[in-house]
């Protein structure tokens, strides 16, 4: 991508210069201190949750997790109890079955819509785009009853489509907006050149834009994956018992009168496992996608 560097003489290439700049920026002591403080503040609750998940039930109920430093007492019982809940394996599969299409569907639709909004001039485009953008303001809670009514009328109720469609609908406004912005940042000259060479919309979309959009798609994909995986509200309202995802299963572990809430910390970590793996595997794209938004063409 960096092959089109301007032919100006200098000691360092542009890439090297950027690396040096970054290094000086990142090694500023103030920035380091702030970064470390933020890291500690953000990690403490998670660390506390992790410690809690390994403490015996009687300890969890009576003292805080920080007391482990003076009185260490660990057990894996919470994990074996949580994993022993029957149907947890099935709910993991449900979560995966719900999440993957709920990530792919909005990305596919949003890519097409974003392309149209960015590069196909048509009447009312701006108004329509503003309308889509404005849809993000609608809280999903107000849509629950009307949506469920529609699903029941159409006869979709109780199927997985209900979950896929709901998640797709709730994701689309943001997905279109984000991908549109990414697409808009690609230099118009690139598109025009392709057009001059005789490429149609389909060709431009697949051969010119798509390779440039991979980081953007990946970063939105991670967002959407985390959102759907961690979702409890949509699962509570729309999912039938057979398709209950892992979040709902874990919420149900505590019992009607909350007598087993000590299992929640272990349950949270079990459920967290998959998103953490996904994030670690894709974080390269994630960071690149965030930067892609910040660099002007």
């Amino acid at each position: 991508m960096s092959a089109t560097a301007p032919a100006m003489p200098r000691k360092l290439t542009r890439k090297e210069q950027r690396a040096v700049d970054n290094k000086t920026k990142l090694t500023s002591p103030t920035a380091s201190v702030i970064a470390i403080i933020i890291a500690i503040v953000w990690t403490t609750p998670t660390a506390g949750l992790l410690i809690t998940s390994f403490r015996p039930a009687s300890e969890i109920r009576t003292t805080g997790w920080w007391t482990v430093f003076s009185n260490p007492d660990f057990t894996t019982e919470n994990y074996s109890d949580a994993l022993g809940t029957s149907g947890l394996g099935q709910s993991f599969i449900n979560s995966i079955v719900i999440t993957i299409p709920a990530v792919i569907i909005p990305i596919l639709l949003a890519l097409l819509a974003a392309y149209a909004f960015a590069w196909i001039p048509f009447k009312g485009r701006d108004i329509l785009f503003t309308a889509v953008f404005a849809l993000q303001v609608v809280p999903i809670q107000v849509t629950l009853i009307p949506l469920l009514t529609q699903y029941v009328n159409v006869g979709l109720d109780g199927t997985l489509w209900v979950l896929w469609l709901s998640h797709s609908m709730f994701a689309l406004p943001l997905a279109i907006f984000l991908l549109h912005n990414f697409m808009k940042e690609i230099p118009a000259s690139l598109i025009e050149a392709a057009r001059v060479d005789g490429a149609g919309h389909v060709r431009i979309f697949f051969t010119v834009l798509l390779p440039l959009l991979v980081p953007a798609i990946a970063s939105f994909g991670i967002f959407q994956f985390l959102w759907v995986w961690n979702d409890l509200l949509v699962a509570m309202v729309f999912a039938s018992n057979d398709y209950a995802p892992v979040t709902r299963k874990i919420a149900e572990m505590v019992g009607s009168f909350g007598s087993a809430w000590h299992l929640l910390a272990a349950g949270a970590f079990i459920s967290m496992l998959v998103p953490v793996i996904v994030f670690l595997a894709l974080q390269r794209y994630f960071v690149r996608g965030m930067l892609a938004g910040g660099v002007k063409g």
Binding site: A57, S80, G89, V152, E252, G258
Partner: protein, 458 residues
């Protein structure tokens, strides 16, 4: 000793293998059937015709496996007799989800309402969807249940809900060994209770206090305090006044109600009496109700007023029995002759007019089901108010004690008032105002006035 780790390892592997195996768990898990020794007469369902191949869906707030499985198991004899497939769907968020499902026209065949108040509002709002209880089930209720339970299942003169479970809230948890060492007898009147309380307070050391309480419960914070007030209402006012209070015929800021709240305050807001092992009065508002009784196990608290279902909260290794680590006594009234009991329960309402649904309600109201359900609930925490229930079929002593209290002819049973009031009050201001009564030391009069003002004016 060497056997233990091995079993742990094996257990662990089995659990992991179970979780990650792709084989879907069969919904027809009949693991509890061997618990059932009770014989059931299948001919009682003949009047409903041939039901085989039909399905009845049940929607309930009971979602965790340990609590739902006993219910599913208890339907097995009915399923064998009739060929009906009963599908259980639990959702912890039932109170919020049920109105959504009703509004969307997606109601289940049977819904288990934990609050008659919510049942009443659903019945009134979606009158075209609910189905009154059939004649067989109604005859069962007339025969096997007290008038009070039938009344709580009735909305505007029509019976819509069949009672499917009950619990007793008028209990004080204590440690039998602590009482024995100190030489205290179980109090049988309110004065005796207060004498013991004063005596404990006078001899208490450090964080030790006679009472401990906690009303934190997430979005429902405050409900344990409403139970306190309801129990006091039953002890300071007449049952008739209690019924009027629930419908607001008796205003919430009436002196009768103020007296009851103050009576609760005589313990809950007395810094000498609370909050054992947890701190001062204000800690009642922040202590989770699930854990508030646990200081009893450390000897830092002597008494904890909470319902029979609290037995599940003591944790593993704690024996709940009269000669065990913890036990409960009936919260006494002013005299031995009075026997008011605060309780709660679930009611099953039908949303589909079909013979299998009516047959299912008939089964739920029969003595058969109550006895079988007792047997399929090995961990306890369930009882019904069915008069033909044999306490021997209840597995836990506290459930047996609860049943004895319910079945006692001297008992005057009243349903948890906050579950009967309009939800704006019963699941709203009553909770929040009681919380600020404790947390902010708001005066009883201000609290009562605020709740009265919030009462919806129809």
């Amino acid at each position: 000793m060497s056997k233990l780790p091995l079993r742990k390892i094996l257990g662990g592997t089995a659990a992991t293998a179970m979780v990650f195996s792709l084989a879907a768990c069969s919904s027809e898990d009949s693991g509890g059937n061997d618990l059932i020794t009770y014989e059931i007469d299948c001919t009682q369902f003949e009047e409903f015709g041939d039901l085989s191949g039909t399905t009845v869906t049940v929607y309930s707030s009971i979602a965790s496996e340990s609590e739902a499985q006993p219910h599913v198991d208890s339907f097995a004899p009915f399923e064998e007799c009739t060929g009906v497939d009963v599908e259980w769907e639990g959702n912890r968020d039932f109170e919020a989800q049920m109105p959504i499902r009703a509004a969307a026209g997606n109601a289940p065949d049977i819904a288990y309402f934990p609050q008659p108040g919510l049942m009443g509002s659903i019945v009134r709002d979606y009158n075209d969807q609910v189905v009154p209880v059939g004649p067989t089930a109604e005859a069962n209720i007339d025969q096997y249940y007290s008038e009070a339970f039938k009344a709580y299942g009735t909305v505007d003169g029509t019976l819509y809900g069949v009672p499917v479970g009950a619990n007793v809230k008028s209990f004080v948890w204590y440690s039998p060994s602590m009482f024995a060492e100190a030489g205290y007898e179980i109090p049988t009147t309110w004065d005796e209770l207060m004498t013991i309380t004063e005596d404990i307070a006078a001899n208490a050391e450090g964080v030790e206090k006679p009472w401990c309480a906690g009303i934190e419960s997430g979005g429902a914070t405050g409900w344990p305090a409403t139970d306190w007030v309801e129990d006091m209402m039953l002890r300071t006012a007449t049952p008739e006044q209690y019924d009027q209070w629930v419908t607001n015929e008796l205003a919430f800021n009436d002196p009768v109600v103020i007296e009851a709240i103050d009576k609760a305050g005589s313990i809950l807001k007395n810094p000498d009496y609370v909050n054992g092992g947890l701190g001062n009065v204000a800690t009642i508002a922040t202590a989770p109700f699930t854990d508030a009784g646990l200081p009893i196990l450390d000897g830092q608290c002597w008494m904890h007023r909470q319902a029979s279902f609290y037995q599940a909260n003591w944790g593993e290794g704690v024996t709940v029995a009269e000669d065990g680590d913890v036990w409960a006594f009936y919260l006494p009234a002013d005299s031995v002759d009075e026997h008011p009991v605060l309780g709660a329960g679930e009611f099953a309402t039908a949303f589909r007019d079909a013979p299998e649904v009516h047959a299912f309600q008939a089964y739920l109201t029969s003595p058969d089901w109550s006895n079988i359900k007792g047997q399929t609930t090995p961990n306890g925490g369930w009882l019904s108010a069915n008069t033909e229930l044999d306490p021997a079929n209840l597995t836990k002593p506290i459930d047996q004690l609860s049943y004895e209290i319910l079945a006692d002819p001297a008992t005057v049973f009243r349903f948890d008032g906050s579950d009967l009031m309009p939800s704006a009050v019963g699941a709203g201001t009553f909770w929040t105002e009681m919380t600020s009564w404790i947390a902010n030391d708001k005066s009883t009069q201000d609290v009562a006035d605020a709740i009265q003002d919030s009462w919806p004016s129809e």
